[in-house]
């Protein structure tokens, strides 16, 4: 079988569309998204009276005139992975000042986007025989699992072992070790290890399985991120790279030696690493530029066949 793996699209509309289109382009039968589907920012498009709107994208303020200009800006914002929100100055003030209002808006945008993405996938994948498997990551709110489950063609595989083909199972978890941002699906290493062991225990043959674990193994080189200062700035102008992956993921990789490890989480950590027979891949992410990093991997009955990392 041949699969395409991508991860960390973080709300980028164009990256999701490319992900769905990747099956045909790379001639694969299975699509796997490693997690972190949701965006990190909302860009308000603020009505200024008349048919004018003000928007500040990437610190660049623009005045938009008319629906066509607004629609174009909405697409641009969506493709960068942000949520555009057409609003007015009063509502912006409310969102900024009323506790919980911003979280509620984010939730609304996240759910609406995931629903739209599922519709897109259903429309494109129906009848193609292509499987699409998604495992939400640490940045994804729990509620999106249900939204994915509602799709006819996309399957959420968090915490599950599924059969990829007659020879290979896939173990999946989007949970990670703690980050400085206290995200939704993160927990201490001990708890994470227990969680992973519970999932792996469902597998009949872990040594011939694919481990689709969002966090990369600690110290693998797939987990190198800029060291941060106490006030959350990249130290040494980002030159100092430190391993931030999961020791639990490393432990299960070393313990079970699966065929393949599929990881993400660290956008800068694009690469591959072998742990004995296990090939671990982190394709990295350039979601803000609308570029979909991925990996095309061929699975043979007892080994990984050809593979290549892509910049699509």
């Amino acid at each position: 079988m041949k699969l395409f793996f991508a991860t960390d699209v973080h709300g980028s509309e164009i990256c999701w569309k490319k992900f769905i289109s990747a099956a045909k382009f790379y001639e694969v039968d299975t699509l796997i998204l490693g997690g972190d589907m949701t965006g990190k920012a909302i860009i308000p498009i603020i009505a200024q009276g008349g048919d004018k709107y003000k928007v500040t994208l990437l610190e660049q303020e623009s005045i938009l005139e008319g629906k066509e200009a607004v629609d174009k800006m909405v697409a641009t914002i969506q493709n960068r992975g942000y949520y555009p929100y057409v609003t007015n100055p009063d509502e912006v003030n409310e969102i900024s000042t009323i506790p919980g209002r911003q979280d509620a808006l984010f939730f609304e945008q996240v759910m609406a986007t995931v629903a739209r993405w599922m519709d897109y996938a259903d429309a494109k994948l129906a009848g193609t025989g292509i499987r699409c498997l998604v495992c939400p990551g640490n940045d994804d709110v729990f509620e999106i699992d249900a939204a994915i489950a509602a799709s006819k063609s996309v399957r959420s595989v968090e915490g599950q072992v599924i059969q990829l083909d007659e020879h290979h199972e896939m173990v999946s978890s989007g949970w990670t070790n703690p980050t400085p941002w206290d995200t939704h699906r993160e927990e201490p290493e001990e708890a994470l290890l227990s969680r992973l062991e519970v999932v792996i225990a469902q597998a009949k043959n872990p040594a011939n399985a694919v481990f689709n674990l969002h966090a990369p193994p600690y110290g693998s080189g797939l987990d190198e991120a800029p060291e941060l200062t106490k006030d959350m700035r990249p130290a040494y102008a980002g030159r100092s790279l430190v391993p931030v992956g999961s020791k639990s993921v490393l432990a299960v990789i070393e313990k079970y030696n699966p065929l393949l490890g599929l990881h993400g989480h660290i956008h800068e950590g694009k690469g591959t690493r072998k742990f004995k027979k296990t090939l671990c891949i982190n394709p990295g992410s350039m979601y803000e530029q609308g570029v979909l990093h991925g990996a095309v991997v061929e699975l043979k009955p007892q080994k990984v066949g050809n593979y290549v990392l892509t910049t699509g």
């Binding site: 382009f25 030159r239 910049t311």
Partner: protein, 624 residues
């Protein structure tokens, strides 16, 4: 209360802005006035003109390079630099050919250069000051001595890679502060002493430190030796037409040190805009400006206290002898590389302080040296990920956590090149500037990618922070017309210089004839490329487009790089020594590009037979 224009949720990866000063430190190390700068300044002994003017002019053009790179970083961050930018915008083949040669193969030649600089600026003076003058003279004067320096480079860089970027970044920062302190002490010594004191100090210290005969006026003898070797002493303040022409002729030498502010700068935050672009720009641009300023201060102080004529002639005496093929140039009175920092340190009678100065200023080397393999290992890894190299090259040793095989792909060829260089086999020491030329070709490709980015990758450009930097119509027209004029000049220059060479074609060996023919073909290709860029950009401007800043800056830097390549290759006055007259240089470069092409076509074909469609690696996935 200012209006909110962005809501950010709690999500991983969102960080505050990094320190511009830190970025400046690393860019300053990449340019490196002390290692690269002093080394290449010492080669400029036969030009005349003003070294200061050359530094400033070279620096001005490098600012345009900074704009191009800062723009590409902000438009396509975390992409992996030149390799991915070129592959994505210009095509996979071009990206591979230019990046593998510019970021991997040519670094094999940088190893002996790093080693030579280590030997000249640190090992030799330290050995002498520690009471081992014979060892000091052996290090500089014997091929084995130089080779030891080169092996040390491999060892030190291996240690840096083994300790990882976390600790190397700390070493660099500490080295910066120590290096700057050392340089300030040198400035102080030069500022508060005069030439008479310097002459006395030089003549007194050389015998003691290096075990040379006492009672010799080394200052005067060095001046005479430099003149006899053909040294041409210009003036720092020579702004006459002839002086300017000589100064401009030195600009291609200056690129040896000031072309690298972009080395390793790829940082860009998520959900960030123009502010990060400016941070990238200022980190690199400040390095250019401050380094040029420091160079001018150093030149002025050398002029005041050592005498500019002594500086030039000491270099002429050393290099004139080193490169003499006729046997007519006498050995220099000072048998070591004329290191201005050590000469300045002689202005203190304290041997301990002299040691401290050499040690502190030596930190400019130690903080910088790790760069030689870091970029190379990244490109090797990137090529392996694209399946253009075997998988084993990206193996990480589990015990040391070092990319052992990638390092071997650097170290083994580097040792071979170091042997050729140390023993000057087939005049290998003459190809110093190849180290710059090949990377300049890589930058040439990236600059072209930057020029066409707004149209070739419109979606990426439109959604990037640099989309806001659009130049007014008049400036778009002005720069386009200037580029048209520059292209015309460059085509004329190639024809003119090529014509001069073809006039003596019949007198050349078969190999040289083949090289000239190759250069002629490349020149025709270059002319076609210039015409293409004129057409591409010109048609946009004619259609009423205002040029984005990246395109505008790209045009200026592209023309500059093109000029460098033309004068390096055709080089009628044999100023740079790496063009058609130097078959070692040309064959060396041809082998590198041929090797890259062989790997590219070989692996493309091999992977296709394996069922991997490598042509799709950088192709954009079409969305239905």
């Amino acid at each position: 209360m200012s209006e909110v224009n962005l809501f950010v949720r709690k999500a991983s990866g969102l960080v505050r802005a990094w320190s511009v000063f830190d970025a400046f430190i690393y860019a300053t190390f990449s340019i490196n006035l002390i290692t690269l700068g002093l080394f290449i300044f010492s080669y400029c002994w036969y030009f005349g003109g003003s070294l200061g003017t050359a530094v400033v002019v070279g620096g001005v053009f490098t600012i345009f390079e900074v704009i191009v790179y800062a723009s590409l970083i902000s438009a396509m961050p975390r992409a992996g630099g030149d390799y991915v930018w070129q592959s994505r915008i210009l095509g996979r083949g071009i990206g591979f050919l230019l990046s593998v040669t510019g970021w991997w193969f040519i670094l094999w030649l940088w190893v002996p250069l790093y080693g030579q600089i280590l030997t000249y600026e640190f090992l030799t003076p330290m050995a002498a000051l520690l009471g081992a003058p014979e060892a000091a003279l052996w290090l500089t004067g014997d091929s084995w001595g130089l080779f030891v320096g080169m092996l040390l480079v491999c060892t030190i860089v291996f240690i840096y890679i083994a300790i990882g970027m976390k600790w190397y970044a700390r070493v660099q920062k500490a080295s910066f502060y120590m290096g700057v302190l050392g340089l300030l002490i040198v400035f102080g010594l030069l500022l508060f002493n005069d030439k008479d004191t310097f002459i006395i100090a030089l003549n007194a210290n050389l015998p003691v430190v290096y075990g040379l005969p006492a009672g010799v006026d080394y200052y005067t003898e060095t001046m005479a030796a430099g003149q006899a070797a053909g040294g041409v002493v210009g003036s720092l303040s020579d702004f006459s037409m002839m002086g300017l022409i000589a100064s401009i002729a030195m600009v291609p030498m200056m690129t040896f040190f000031n072309l690298w502010p972009n080395w390793g700068s790829t940082l860009y935050g998520e959900v960030r805009g123009a502010n990060d672009y400016k941070r990238n720009f200022w980190g690199m641009a400040a390095a250019i400006i401050v380094t040029a300023g420091l160079a001018l201060v150093l030149f002025t102080l050398i002029n005041k206290t050592m005498g500019w004529d002594f500086f030039i002639n000491s270099n002429a005496a050393f290099w004139g002898y080193a490169f003499d093929t006729t046997g007519t140039v006498a050995a220099p009175p000072i048998p070591v590389w004329p290191y201005p920092i050590q000469f300045a340190s002689f202005l203190t009678s304290s041997r301990a302080l002299q040691l401290v100065i050499i040690f502190l200023v030596g930190m400019w080397w130690f903080g910088w040296s790790g760069t030689v393999f870091l970029s190379s290992t990244r490109v090797i890894f990137a090529a392996a990920l694209d399946r253009m190299l075997p998988e084993w090259v990206s193996k990480i040793d589990s015990r040391t956590r070092t990319p052992i095989n990638a390092l071997l792909l650097m170290v083994i060829p580097s040792i071979i090149i170091s042997i050729l260089y140390a023993w000057d086999v087939v005049s290998f020491k003459s190809i110093v500037l190849d180290a710059t030329l090949v990377i300049a070709v890589t930058f040439f490709g990236t600059t072209l990618a930057g020029i066409v980015l707004p149209w070739k990758q419109k979606e990426i450009f439109d959604g990037s922070p640099i989309a806001r930097y659009i130049m007014p119509t008049w400036l778009s027209w002005l720069v386009t017309l200037l580029f048209v004029a520059a292209s015309g000049y460059l085509i004329w220059l190639m024809a003119n210089l090529g014509g001069q060479v073809f006039a003596v074609f019949g007198e050349q060996t078969l190999l040289t004839k083949a090289i000239i023919a190759l250069l002629a073909v490349l020149s025709v290709g270059n002319a076609a490329l210039l015409v293409y860029v004129v057409w591409y950009v010109g048609s946009k401007v004619l259609a009423g487009a205002k040029l984005p800043l990246i395109t505008l800056a790209g045009l200026v830097f592209f023309a500059f790089l093109d000029w460098l390549l033309v004068v390096w290759f055709w080089d009628p006055s044999f100023y740079y020594g790496i063009g058609w007259q130097n078959s070692t240089s040309m064959v060396f470069m041809i082998i590198m590009y041929a090797l890259a092409a062989a790997i590219y076509f070989g692996f493309s074909s091999y992977r296709k037979r394996q069922g991997i469609d490598v042509d799709k690696v950088y192709k954009e996935i079409p969305v239905e």
